[in-house]
């Protein structure tokens, strides 16, 4: 790629990889959490809801520092995970973890709204027709909330692409390992003559964000047309 320098391209590729993994891993967890929050009654529901939303309202630096305390090499979970070969500290996996945690509340919110919009009466109807609970979920609930899942995933992906504060606090800014697109923009702006590469990365960033937004709108429109009739 001639237009982007090697270091810039590295940052873009890393960001895509980090965001993709963050989104994929968060997807099933997010769906489970959203379903639990939308449909189940259990003690401590408000606490879970609060925890899920915490990354949205805390300063990202604080979230990053909490991740470092928990998943760092000397952290509460970090040490144990290191023994079984999973390392987050100063690795791209750590960047993915930070991005995933930051994107999680946005994903859950979108999914929860779509689950709440499904009429439980349809699920009842499916049950009377012989579908057990897992089947009801797969054949009725899931297809109806698919637009919400996709919207949540796209939103989470976009958020992961832009995540900066928690990432740089947790896994620093190591080119080729943890230097994501926003970290790279920040790094370029710290050195004289870095405006050119920074500006090119900004353009890439805008294109990806706009693309994600348009894709989610298109998905929502198609889903609405399908369910609406014709």
């Amino acid at each position: 790629m001639g237009w982007l320098g090697a270091e810039e391209w590295q940052a873009v590729a890393l960001s895509l990889r980090v965001s993709l993994w963050a989104t994929l891993v968060a997807l099933p967890l997010g769906l489970f959490t959203a379903h639990a929050l939308a449909r189940w009654q259990f003690p401590g529901k408000q606490l879970v809801n609060g925890l899920v939303h915490l990354p949205l309202i805390l300063p990202p630096v604080v979230t990053g520092y909490l991740l470092l305390l928990t998943f760092g090499t000397s952290g509460a979970l970090g040490g144990a995970l290191e023994n079984i070969g999973i390392v987050f500290a100063f690795r791209w996996t750590g960047a993915a973890l930070a991005a995933g945690v930051m994107a999680f509340p946005l994903m859950v919110r979108a999914m929860r709204l779509s689950i709440e919009a499904v009429d439980p009466k349809l699920e009842e109807a499916a049950a009377t027709l012989g579908a057990s609970r897992p089947w009801v979920f797969v054949t009725v609930t899931l297809p109806l909330i698919l637009p919400g899942i996709l919207a949540g995933a796209i939103l989470a992906f976009a958020k992961a692409m832009g995540e900066f504060g928690a990432t740089i606090t947790f896994v620093s800014n190591i080119p080729g390992e943890t230097q994501t697109l926003p970290s790279a923009v920040y790094a370029f702006l710290q050195v004289p003559g870095g405006e050119g590469p920074a500006l090119r990365l900004v353009v890439v960033s805008v294109v990806i964000a706009m693309g994600a937004l348009l894709a989610s709108e298109a998905v929502a429109r198609r889903a609405a047309a399908r369910v609406g009739g014709a």
Binding site: L144, V227, G229
Partner: protein
């Protein structure tokens, strides 16, 4: 089939305490809103877990709180036709129809898709999605979907209540076909006396969560003690045979030897039809009326009388055609000196019998 129901349940202010046994055919749960009809059906379907009771279909126990037996809804092998259709919006009509079939054991798949599609007249709708269907079409698909699940019992909770009068008239015949063309028994909830008259084999009348009357449709509908006097719902059921269609648009019927004339009925001569004669459309006269425009005059005797809260009263009349109900004012009853056993004539205008009140036997 016998459906055996025994349910005790408290929902809000309503204390439900219902027990009945239903023979094969269409059993109608009849009562005003808030009488507990829907709770009974939901308990049978397993969507509501009652405090106590048991329900069995043909000896097959759906639940028994004493024996701590509770089948979840998906294992009850019922077909439920809901008031709002509840079709799956993301599936086509065809996919909706075969949805329940997919979960049914092969030996329970009694009806073929072709037959159901033909009887319900939904062939041209198959590739469409529910969003593009009219209310009446949706309900026909919902009936077909429930039927194709291979149910041992069909439940219908006010399936016509959400439709306008024209759509009701369109869908009612499909329930008659359902009753006549398929063998599956039906538990049907309604507050409409017209629907009871057209469909019911057995009627179970609910009031305030209790069964106040149970019996054959014609007996219950002509019992002034059961039918509310003040409302327009009261009306008796007659069975008549089509004699011939006249050139002036009238159909001549024979009701137990008494000739009756109705606006054209779309049935061939020799067929039997059920007629619901609304009580407020019946005029009583002590002498055989002369020079009257009304074409239907049935002689009979007063069988029972019941006073209502208002100025009206409900009188049942034994005629050769069957028992009729008439709603008259108390003042008229006194003026005519109507007492049980008194001879009188029931006068019914031909056009007073609504098309919705005429159906197959």
């Amino acid at each position: 089939m016998t459906l055996s129901v025994e349910i005790g349940h408290a929902v809000g202010a309503l204390r439900l305490d219902v027990a009945f046994e239903a023979p094969p055919g269409v059993t109608v749960l009849f009562g005003s809103s808030g009488s507990g009809k829907t709770s009974v059906v939901n308990a049978v379907a397993g969507l509501l877990r009652p405090d106590r009771g048991r329900v069995s279909v043909n000896g097959w126990e759906l639940f028994d709180t004493e024996a701590r037996r509770w089948l979840p809804p998906h294992r009850r092998r019922l077909g439920y036709i809901f008031q709002e259709g509840r079709l799956f919006p993301h599936l086509t009509v065809r996919q909706n129809l075969v949805y329940g079939r997919w979960f049914a054991p092969t030996r329970e798949r009694r009806e073929s898709l072709e037959k159901v599609v033909e009887v319900m007249g939904i062939g041209q709708l198959l590739p469409r999605r529910p969003g593009a269907l009219s209310g009446g079409e949706k309900q026909r698909v919902a009936i077909g979907r429930a039927l194709l699940a291979g149910p041992r019992l069909l439940l219908a909770d006010e399936p016509l209540a959400a439709l306008d009068e024209a759509r009701k008239a369109e869908i009612l015949p499909f329930f008659e076909r359902l009753r006549d063309a398929f063998e599956v028994p039906i538990l049907y909830v309604t507050h409409s006396a017209a629907e009871v008259a057209r469909l019911a084999t057995t009627v179970v009348v609910l009031e305030g969560g209790r069964v106040v009357r149970q019996g054959a449709a014609d007996e219950v509908l002509s019992d002034p003690a059961v039918m509310p006097t003040g409302v327009r719902a009261a009306g008796a059921l007659l069975v008549a045979r089509v004699v011939r269609h006249h050139a002036d648009g009238l159909t001549e019927l024979d009701a137990g030897g008494v000739p009756m004339f109705l606006p054209h009925i779309d049935r061939e001569a020799g067929h039997e039809v059920r007629l619901r004669i609304a009580a407020h459309e019946v005029i009583l006269s002590r002498e055989a009326p002369q020079g009257l425009s009304a074409l239907n005059i049935l002689p009979g005797r007063v069988a029972a009388m019941r006073e209502g809260a208002g100025p009206g009263m409900l009188i049942s009349l034994d005629t050769a055609a069957g028992t009729l109900l008439a709603r008259v004012t108390r003042r008229s009853a006194e003026a005519l000196a109507l007492v049980p056993g008194a001879r009188c004539h029931a006068v019914i205008k031909t056009v007073a019998i609504a098309p919705l009140d005429v159906g197959g036997v």
